[in-house]
Point group: C2
Chain length 225, copies 2
Protein backbone atom coordinates (compact mmCIF):
# COMPACT_ATOMS: atom_id res chain seq x y z
CA UNK A 1 0.00 0.00 0.00
CA UNK A 2 1.25 3.43 -0.87
CA UNK A 3 0.51 6.21 1.57
CA UNK A 4 -0.04 9.69 0.25
CA UNK A 5 0.90 12.44 2.67
CA UNK A 6 -1.51 15.33 2.23
CA UNK A 7 -0.83 18.58 4.00
CA UNK A 8 -3.95 20.55 4.72
CA UNK A 9 -3.40 24.03 3.34
CA UNK A 10 -5.08 27.29 4.25
CA UNK A 11 -7.64 27.94 1.51
CA UNK A 12 -7.07 31.68 1.52
CA UNK A 13 -3.59 31.06 0.12
CA UNK A 14 -4.82 30.08 -3.32
CA UNK A 15 -7.61 30.85 -5.77
CA UNK A 16 -7.87 27.28 -6.95
CA UNK A 17 -6.33 24.37 -5.06
CA UNK A 18 -3.09 23.53 -6.88
CA UNK A 19 -3.17 20.00 -5.54
CA UNK A 20 -6.48 19.38 -7.30
CA UNK A 21 -5.22 19.29 -10.89
CA UNK A 22 -2.27 18.46 -13.08
CA UNK A 23 -1.52 22.06 -13.96
CA UNK A 24 -1.69 22.99 -10.29
CA UNK A 25 0.82 20.31 -9.35
CA UNK A 26 3.02 21.45 -12.21
CA UNK A 27 2.89 25.00 -10.88
CA UNK A 28 4.12 23.81 -7.50
CA UNK A 29 6.80 21.60 -8.96
CA UNK A 30 8.19 24.13 -11.44
CA UNK A 31 7.93 27.11 -9.11
CA UNK A 32 10.16 25.28 -6.64
CA UNK A 33 12.67 24.58 -9.39
CA UNK A 34 12.54 28.09 -10.83
CA UNK A 35 12.73 29.96 -7.52
CA UNK A 36 15.64 27.73 -6.57
CA UNK A 37 17.44 28.54 -9.81
CA UNK A 38 16.62 32.22 -10.32
CA UNK A 39 15.85 33.47 -6.83
CA UNK A 40 12.54 34.90 -5.73
CA UNK A 41 13.16 38.44 -7.00
CA UNK A 42 13.84 37.32 -10.57
CA UNK A 43 11.04 34.75 -10.49
CA UNK A 44 7.95 35.80 -12.49
CA UNK A 45 4.71 34.09 -13.46
CA UNK A 46 5.59 34.65 -17.09
CA UNK A 47 8.83 32.67 -16.81
CA UNK A 48 7.04 30.03 -14.76
CA UNK A 49 4.38 29.69 -17.46
CA UNK A 50 7.00 29.32 -20.18
CA UNK A 51 8.73 26.70 -18.07
CA UNK A 52 5.57 24.69 -17.66
CA UNK A 53 4.37 25.22 -21.20
CA UNK A 54 1.25 27.10 -20.27
CA UNK A 55 0.29 30.79 -20.16
CA UNK A 56 0.56 33.47 -17.53
CA UNK A 57 -3.21 33.61 -17.21
CA UNK A 58 -3.15 29.93 -16.36
CA UNK A 59 -0.98 30.54 -13.32
CA UNK A 60 -3.15 33.41 -12.14
CA UNK A 61 -6.09 31.04 -11.92
CA UNK A 62 -4.30 29.32 -9.06
CA UNK A 63 -2.38 32.06 -7.26
CA UNK A 64 -3.20 35.73 -6.86
CA UNK A 65 0.47 36.76 -7.03
CA UNK A 66 3.95 35.48 -6.38
CA UNK A 67 3.93 36.54 -2.74
CA UNK A 68 0.96 34.28 -2.03
CA UNK A 69 2.76 31.47 -3.83
CA UNK A 70 5.84 31.97 -1.66
CA UNK A 71 3.71 31.98 1.48
CA UNK A 72 2.02 28.81 0.22
CA UNK A 73 5.37 27.07 -0.29
CA UNK A 74 6.70 28.10 3.10
CA UNK A 75 3.49 27.05 4.83
CA UNK A 76 3.70 23.71 3.03
CA UNK A 77 7.30 23.31 4.13
CA UNK A 78 6.65 24.04 7.79
CA UNK A 79 3.65 21.74 7.77
CA UNK A 80 5.70 18.99 6.18
CA UNK A 81 8.54 19.54 8.65
CA UNK A 82 6.23 19.39 11.63
CA UNK A 83 4.97 16.07 10.35
CA UNK A 84 8.54 14.80 9.95
CA UNK A 85 9.32 15.87 13.49
CA UNK A 86 6.26 14.31 15.06
CA UNK A 87 6.91 11.14 13.06
CA UNK A 88 10.60 10.86 13.85
CA UNK A 89 10.36 11.79 17.53
CA UNK A 90 7.38 9.53 18.14
CA UNK A 91 7.85 7.15 21.07
CA UNK A 92 10.98 8.89 22.28
CA UNK A 93 10.36 9.49 25.96
CA UNK A 94 13.37 11.63 26.88
CA UNK A 95 12.68 15.25 25.84
CA UNK A 96 16.40 16.01 25.59
CA UNK A 97 16.82 13.31 22.97
CA UNK A 98 13.70 14.56 21.21
CA UNK A 99 15.12 18.08 21.19
CA UNK A 100 18.40 16.87 19.72
CA UNK A 101 16.50 15.05 17.02
CA UNK A 102 14.52 18.21 16.23
CA UNK A 103 17.68 20.29 15.94
CA UNK A 104 19.11 17.75 13.55
CA UNK A 105 16.02 17.77 11.40
CA UNK A 106 16.08 21.57 11.28
CA UNK A 107 19.76 21.92 10.51
CA UNK A 108 20.31 19.02 8.16
CA UNK A 109 19.52 18.93 4.48
CA UNK A 110 16.45 16.86 3.77
CA UNK A 111 16.29 14.13 1.21
CA UNK A 112 13.60 14.31 -1.41
CA UNK A 113 10.52 12.62 -0.04
CA UNK A 114 9.05 10.18 -2.54
CA UNK A 115 5.64 10.45 -0.93
CA UNK A 116 4.97 13.84 -2.45
CA UNK A 117 5.86 13.49 -6.07
CA UNK A 118 5.27 17.07 -7.15
CA UNK A 119 7.37 18.82 -4.53
CA UNK A 120 11.11 18.31 -4.24
CA UNK A 121 11.67 18.77 -0.51
CA UNK A 122 15.41 19.09 -0.88
CA UNK A 123 15.13 22.07 -3.22
CA UNK A 124 12.31 23.51 -1.15
CA UNK A 125 14.54 23.37 1.92
CA UNK A 126 17.13 25.45 0.10
CA UNK A 127 14.46 27.92 -0.96
CA UNK A 128 13.23 28.31 2.60
CA UNK A 129 16.77 29.06 3.76
CA UNK A 130 17.18 31.92 1.29
CA UNK A 131 13.64 33.15 0.72
CA UNK A 132 11.65 31.90 3.71
CA UNK A 133 11.82 35.01 5.85
CA UNK A 134 10.64 37.15 2.95
CA UNK A 135 7.24 35.53 3.45
CA UNK A 136 6.72 37.52 6.66
CA UNK A 137 9.22 40.41 6.44
CA UNK A 138 6.67 42.61 4.69
CA UNK A 139 4.28 45.45 5.37
CA UNK A 140 1.32 43.04 5.18
CA UNK A 141 2.50 40.71 7.98
CA UNK A 142 -0.38 41.87 10.10
CA UNK A 143 -3.12 41.02 7.62
CA UNK A 144 -1.39 37.85 6.47
CA UNK A 145 -1.13 36.77 10.08
CA UNK A 146 -4.81 37.52 10.69
CA UNK A 147 -5.60 35.16 7.85
CA UNK A 148 -3.51 32.50 9.61
CA UNK A 149 -0.95 32.23 6.82
CA UNK A 150 1.84 31.63 9.32
CA UNK A 151 0.02 29.07 11.43
CA UNK A 152 2.24 26.13 10.35
CA UNK A 153 5.33 28.11 11.32
CA UNK A 154 3.85 29.12 14.64
CA UNK A 155 2.66 25.57 15.29
CA UNK A 156 6.14 24.21 14.70
CA UNK A 157 7.58 26.83 17.00
CA UNK A 158 5.04 25.88 19.65
CA UNK A 159 5.95 22.20 19.33
CA UNK A 160 9.63 22.99 19.82
CA UNK A 161 8.98 25.32 22.76
CA UNK A 162 6.94 22.60 24.50
CA UNK A 163 9.85 20.18 24.20
CA UNK A 164 12.15 22.87 25.58
CA UNK A 165 9.86 23.36 28.57
CA UNK A 166 9.75 19.60 29.13
CA UNK A 167 13.54 19.58 29.22
CA UNK A 168 13.70 22.45 31.62
CA UNK A 169 10.37 23.66 33.08
CA UNK A 170 11.92 26.63 34.83
CA UNK A 171 13.53 28.08 31.68
CA UNK A 172 12.08 31.52 31.07
CA UNK A 173 12.25 31.92 27.28
CA UNK A 174 11.06 28.69 25.61
CA UNK A 175 9.30 30.38 22.68
CA UNK A 176 12.08 32.82 21.88
CA UNK A 177 14.62 30.03 22.14
CA UNK A 178 12.49 27.91 19.80
CA UNK A 179 12.23 30.66 17.17
CA UNK A 180 15.94 31.32 17.60
CA UNK A 181 16.80 27.68 16.88
CA UNK A 182 14.55 27.54 13.86
CA UNK A 183 15.81 30.77 12.35
CA UNK A 184 19.45 30.08 13.11
CA UNK A 185 19.36 26.58 11.70
CA UNK A 186 18.70 28.33 8.39
CA UNK A 187 20.70 31.52 8.76
CA UNK A 188 23.86 29.77 9.89
CA UNK A 189 23.50 27.51 6.88
CA UNK A 190 23.14 30.51 4.57
CA UNK A 191 26.07 32.26 6.19
CA UNK A 192 28.23 29.15 6.07
CA UNK A 193 27.74 28.90 2.32
CA UNK A 194 27.66 32.58 1.38
CA UNK A 195 29.23 34.76 4.09
CA UNK A 196 31.38 32.22 5.89
CA UNK A 197 33.24 34.72 8.07
CA UNK A 198 30.01 35.18 10.00
CA UNK A 199 30.26 31.60 11.25
CA UNK A 200 32.75 29.16 12.72
CA UNK A 201 32.03 26.62 9.99
CA UNK A 202 33.75 28.27 7.07
CA UNK A 203 36.42 25.63 6.66
CA UNK A 204 34.57 22.35 6.86
CA UNK A 205 31.17 23.66 5.75
CA UNK A 206 29.39 20.76 7.36
CA UNK A 207 25.82 20.92 8.49
CA UNK A 208 26.72 18.71 11.43
CA UNK A 209 28.68 21.65 12.84
CA UNK A 210 25.56 23.79 12.79
CA UNK A 211 23.78 21.08 14.73
CA UNK A 212 26.64 20.97 17.22
CA UNK A 213 26.52 24.74 17.68
CA UNK A 214 22.76 24.77 18.20
CA UNK A 215 22.91 21.82 20.58
CA UNK A 216 25.56 23.59 22.63
CA UNK A 217 23.54 26.81 22.61
CA UNK A 218 20.33 25.13 23.67
CA UNK A 219 21.55 22.68 26.28
CA UNK A 220 23.80 25.09 28.11
CA UNK A 221 20.89 27.58 28.14
CA UNK A 222 18.72 24.90 29.69
CA UNK A 223 21.38 24.10 32.27
CA UNK A 224 22.06 20.67 30.77
CA UNK A 225 25.37 21.51 29.13
Amino acid sequence: MKLQLQIKMNEALYLKNPESSDLGKNILKHSVQLIYKAGFEAFTFKKLAENIGTTEAGIYRYFENKHKLLVYLTAWYWGWLEFQISFQTNNIADPAIRLKKVINLLATAVEDDEQTSYINESLLHQIIITEGSKAYLTKQVGEDNKQQFFKPYKDLCAVVSVIISECSPEYKYPKSLASTIIEMAHFQNFFMNNLPSLTDFGVAKEESEISAFLNDLVFTSLGKG
Copy 2:
Protein backbone atom coordinates in the same frame (compact mmCIF):
# COMPACT_ATOMS: atom_id res chain seq x y z
CA MET B 1 32.89 72.91 17.95
CA LYS B 2 30.50 70.66 16.08
CA LEU B 3 31.79 67.27 15.11
CA GLN B 4 30.52 65.71 11.92
CA LEU B 5 30.55 61.93 11.93
CA GLN B 6 31.38 60.73 8.44
CA ILE B 7 31.08 57.07 7.65
CA LYS B 8 33.38 55.97 4.88
CA MET B 9 31.24 54.19 2.32
CA ASN B 10 32.23 51.65 -0.32
CA GLU B 11 32.37 53.57 -3.59
CA ALA B 12 30.97 50.69 -5.62
CA LEU B 13 27.65 51.15 -3.83
CA TYR B 14 26.78 54.35 -5.63
CA LEU B 15 27.25 56.06 -9.00
CA LYS B 16 27.66 59.49 -7.45
CA ASN B 17 28.35 60.01 -3.77
CA PRO B 18 25.02 60.97 -2.18
CA GLU B 19 26.80 62.71 0.67
CA SER B 20 28.42 65.11 -1.79
CA SER B 21 25.33 67.15 -2.73
CA ASP B 22 21.98 68.40 -1.50
CA LEU B 23 19.99 66.14 -3.77
CA GLY B 24 22.08 63.18 -2.66
CA LYS B 25 21.41 63.89 0.99
CA ASN B 26 17.74 64.32 0.20
CA ILE B 27 17.73 60.93 -1.49
CA LEU B 28 19.11 59.31 1.65
CA LYS B 29 16.77 61.18 3.95
CA HIS B 30 13.59 60.55 1.97
CA SER B 31 14.40 56.98 1.05
CA VAL B 32 14.64 56.16 4.76
CA GLN B 33 11.27 57.79 5.37
CA LEU B 34 9.62 56.18 2.36
CA ILE B 35 10.96 52.66 2.88
CA TYR B 36 9.89 52.96 6.51
CA LYS B 37 6.38 53.97 5.50
CA ALA B 38 5.75 51.83 2.43
CA GLY B 39 8.11 48.89 2.88
CA PHE B 40 10.92 47.98 0.51
CA GLU B 41 8.75 46.06 -1.98
CA ALA B 42 6.40 48.98 -2.60
CA PHE B 43 9.24 51.49 -2.61
CA THR B 44 10.12 52.78 -6.10
CA PHE B 45 12.46 55.46 -7.42
CA LYS B 46 9.46 57.16 -9.04
CA LYS B 47 7.70 57.59 -5.69
CA LEU B 48 10.95 58.67 -4.09
CA ALA B 49 11.46 61.31 -6.79
CA GLU B 50 7.92 62.63 -6.31
CA ASN B 51 8.55 62.76 -2.58
CA ILE B 52 11.71 64.77 -2.99
CA GLY B 53 10.37 66.95 -5.78
CA THR B 54 12.83 65.78 -8.41
CA THR B 55 12.67 63.27 -11.25
CA GLU B 56 13.35 59.56 -11.51
CA ALA B 57 16.37 60.22 -13.71
CA GLY B 58 17.78 62.36 -10.93
CA ILE B 59 17.79 59.41 -8.53
CA TYR B 60 19.40 57.11 -11.07
CA ARG B 61 22.38 59.45 -11.21
CA TYR B 62 23.18 58.41 -7.65
CA PHE B 63 22.08 54.80 -7.37
CA GLU B 64 21.97 52.08 -9.97
CA ASN B 65 18.82 50.51 -8.53
CA LYS B 66 16.90 50.15 -5.31
CA HIS B 67 18.81 47.07 -4.21
CA LYS B 68 22.07 49.02 -4.20
CA LEU B 69 20.36 51.76 -2.22
CA LEU B 70 19.19 49.23 0.36
CA VAL B 71 22.67 47.77 0.62
CA TYR B 72 24.02 51.30 1.01
CA LEU B 73 21.62 52.05 3.86
CA THR B 74 22.35 48.79 5.66
CA ALA B 75 26.10 49.27 5.26
CA TRP B 76 25.72 52.80 6.60
CA TYR B 77 23.73 51.48 9.56
CA TRP B 78 26.24 48.78 10.50
CA GLY B 79 29.10 51.23 10.17
CA TRP B 80 27.29 53.71 12.37
CA LEU B 81 26.46 51.02 14.91
CA GLU B 82 30.04 49.83 15.09
CA PHE B 83 31.10 53.38 15.83
CA GLN B 84 28.45 53.65 18.57
CA ILE B 85 29.70 50.42 20.08
CA SER B 86 33.36 51.33 20.01
CA PHE B 87 32.50 54.76 21.44
CA GLN B 88 30.24 53.52 24.20
CA THR B 89 32.38 50.56 25.25
CA ASN B 90 35.57 52.57 25.20
CA ASN B 91 37.57 52.31 28.44
CA ILE B 92 35.47 49.48 29.81
CA ALA B 93 37.97 46.87 30.87
CA ASP B 94 35.67 43.97 31.76
CA PRO B 95 34.67 42.16 28.54
CA ALA B 96 31.48 40.83 30.15
CA ILE B 97 30.30 44.36 30.83
CA ARG B 98 31.30 45.36 27.30
CA LEU B 99 29.31 42.45 25.91
CA LYS B 100 26.24 43.44 27.93
CA LYS B 101 26.55 46.95 26.61
CA VAL B 102 26.76 45.65 23.05
CA ILE B 103 23.66 43.52 23.47
CA ASN B 104 21.79 46.53 24.78
CA LEU B 105 22.86 48.66 21.86
CA LEU B 106 21.78 45.97 19.43
CA ALA B 107 18.43 45.27 21.01
CA THR B 108 17.35 48.74 22.05
CA ALA B 109 15.78 51.36 19.84
CA VAL B 110 18.23 54.06 18.95
CA GLU B 111 17.52 57.74 19.37
CA ASP B 112 17.98 59.96 16.35
CA ASP B 113 21.56 61.12 16.25
CA GLU B 114 21.80 64.86 15.67
CA GLN B 115 25.30 64.50 14.26
CA THR B 116 24.03 63.16 10.97
CA SER B 117 21.29 65.49 9.93
CA TYR B 118 20.18 63.72 6.79
CA ILE B 119 19.68 60.23 8.23
CA ASN B 120 17.16 59.47 10.92
CA GLU B 121 18.82 56.63 12.79
CA SER B 122 15.69 55.69 14.65
CA LEU B 123 13.73 55.08 11.44
CA LEU B 124 16.74 53.42 9.86
CA HIS B 125 16.92 51.01 12.78
CA GLN B 126 13.31 49.99 12.12
CA ILE B 127 14.09 49.55 8.43
CA ILE B 128 17.04 47.30 9.19
CA ILE B 129 14.84 45.13 11.39
CA THR B 130 12.32 44.52 8.62
CA GLU B 131 14.37 44.88 5.44
CA GLY B 132 17.98 44.41 6.52
CA SER B 133 18.35 40.73 5.70
CA LYS B 134 16.96 41.31 2.19
CA ALA B 135 20.26 43.04 1.46
CA TYR B 136 22.06 39.69 1.43
CA LEU B 137 19.29 37.08 0.99
CA THR B 138 19.61 37.24 -2.79
CA LYS B 139 21.11 35.34 -5.70
CA GLN B 140 23.87 37.98 -6.03
CA VAL B 141 25.23 37.60 -2.48
CA GLY B 142 28.38 36.14 -3.88
CA GLU B 143 29.22 39.02 -6.20
CA ASP B 144 28.03 41.62 -3.72
CA ASN B 145 30.26 40.04 -1.12
CA LYS B 146 33.22 40.04 -3.49
CA GLN B 147 32.74 43.76 -3.85
CA GLN B 148 32.90 44.05 -0.06
CA PHE B 149 29.35 45.37 0.28
CA PHE B 150 28.87 43.51 3.55
CA LYS B 151 32.16 44.50 5.13
CA PRO B 152 30.58 46.75 7.78
CA TYR B 153 28.30 43.91 8.85
CA LYS B 154 31.15 41.44 8.96
CA ASP B 155 33.37 43.91 10.82
CA LEU B 156 30.70 44.38 13.47
CA CYS B 157 30.31 40.64 13.78
CA ALA B 158 34.06 40.30 14.18
CA VAL B 159 34.12 42.96 16.91
CA VAL B 160 31.41 41.13 18.84
CA SER B 161 33.06 37.75 18.41
CA VAL B 162 36.33 39.13 19.77
CA ILE B 163 34.57 40.35 22.90
CA ILE B 164 32.96 36.92 23.24
CA SER B 165 36.36 35.25 23.03
CA GLU B 166 37.74 37.65 25.63
CA CYS B 167 34.93 36.66 27.95
CA SER B 168 35.50 33.00 27.39
CA PRO B 169 38.60 32.04 25.37
CA GLU B 170 37.68 28.37 25.24
CA TYR B 171 34.21 28.92 23.74
CA LYS B 172 34.06 27.17 20.39
CA TYR B 173 31.57 29.25 18.39
CA PRO B 174 32.33 32.96 18.91
CA LYS B 175 31.49 34.03 15.35
CA SER B 176 28.27 32.06 15.06
CA LEU B 177 27.20 33.28 18.48
CA ALA B 178 27.97 36.85 17.41
CA SER B 179 25.90 36.59 14.23
CA THR B 180 23.15 34.89 16.23
CA ILE B 181 23.00 37.76 18.71
CA ILE B 182 22.96 40.38 15.97
CA GLU B 183 20.26 38.66 13.93
CA MET B 184 18.14 37.73 16.91
CA ALA B 185 18.25 41.23 18.39
CA HIS B 186 16.33 42.21 15.27
CA PHE B 187 14.21 39.16 14.62
CA GLN B 188 12.93 38.89 18.17
CA ASN B 189 11.99 42.55 17.91
CA PHE B 190 10.12 41.93 14.66
CA PHE B 191 8.39 38.86 16.08
CA MET B 192 7.48 40.67 19.30
CA ASN B 193 5.68 43.36 17.33
CA ASN B 194 4.24 41.28 14.50
CA LEU B 195 4.11 37.58 15.36
CA PRO B 196 4.19 37.73 19.14
CA SER B 197 3.43 34.05 19.73
CA LEU B 198 6.94 33.31 18.46
CA THR B 199 8.40 35.06 21.49
CA ASP B 200 7.99 35.29 25.25
CA PHE B 201 7.58 39.06 25.11
CA GLY B 202 4.10 39.27 23.65
CA VAL B 203 2.49 40.79 26.72
CA ALA B 204 4.85 43.52 27.82
CA LYS B 205 6.44 44.13 24.41
CA GLU B 206 9.50 45.69 25.96
CA GLU B 207 12.87 45.73 24.29
CA SER B 208 14.50 45.23 27.68
CA GLU B 209 13.09 41.71 27.67
CA ILE B 210 14.88 40.97 24.40
CA SER B 211 18.10 42.16 26.02
CA ALA B 212 17.43 39.93 29.02
CA PHE B 213 16.83 36.92 26.77
CA LEU B 214 19.99 37.53 24.76
CA ASN B 215 22.07 38.12 27.89
CA ASP B 216 20.81 34.86 29.37
CA LEU B 217 21.50 33.04 26.09
CA VAL B 218 25.03 34.41 25.77
CA PHE B 219 26.27 34.22 29.32
CA THR B 220 25.03 30.70 30.02
CA SER B 221 26.64 29.63 26.73
CA LEU B 222 29.89 31.17 27.90
CA GLY B 223 29.62 29.44 31.26
CA LYS B 224 29.10 32.71 33.11
CA GLY B 225 25.38 32.31 33.77
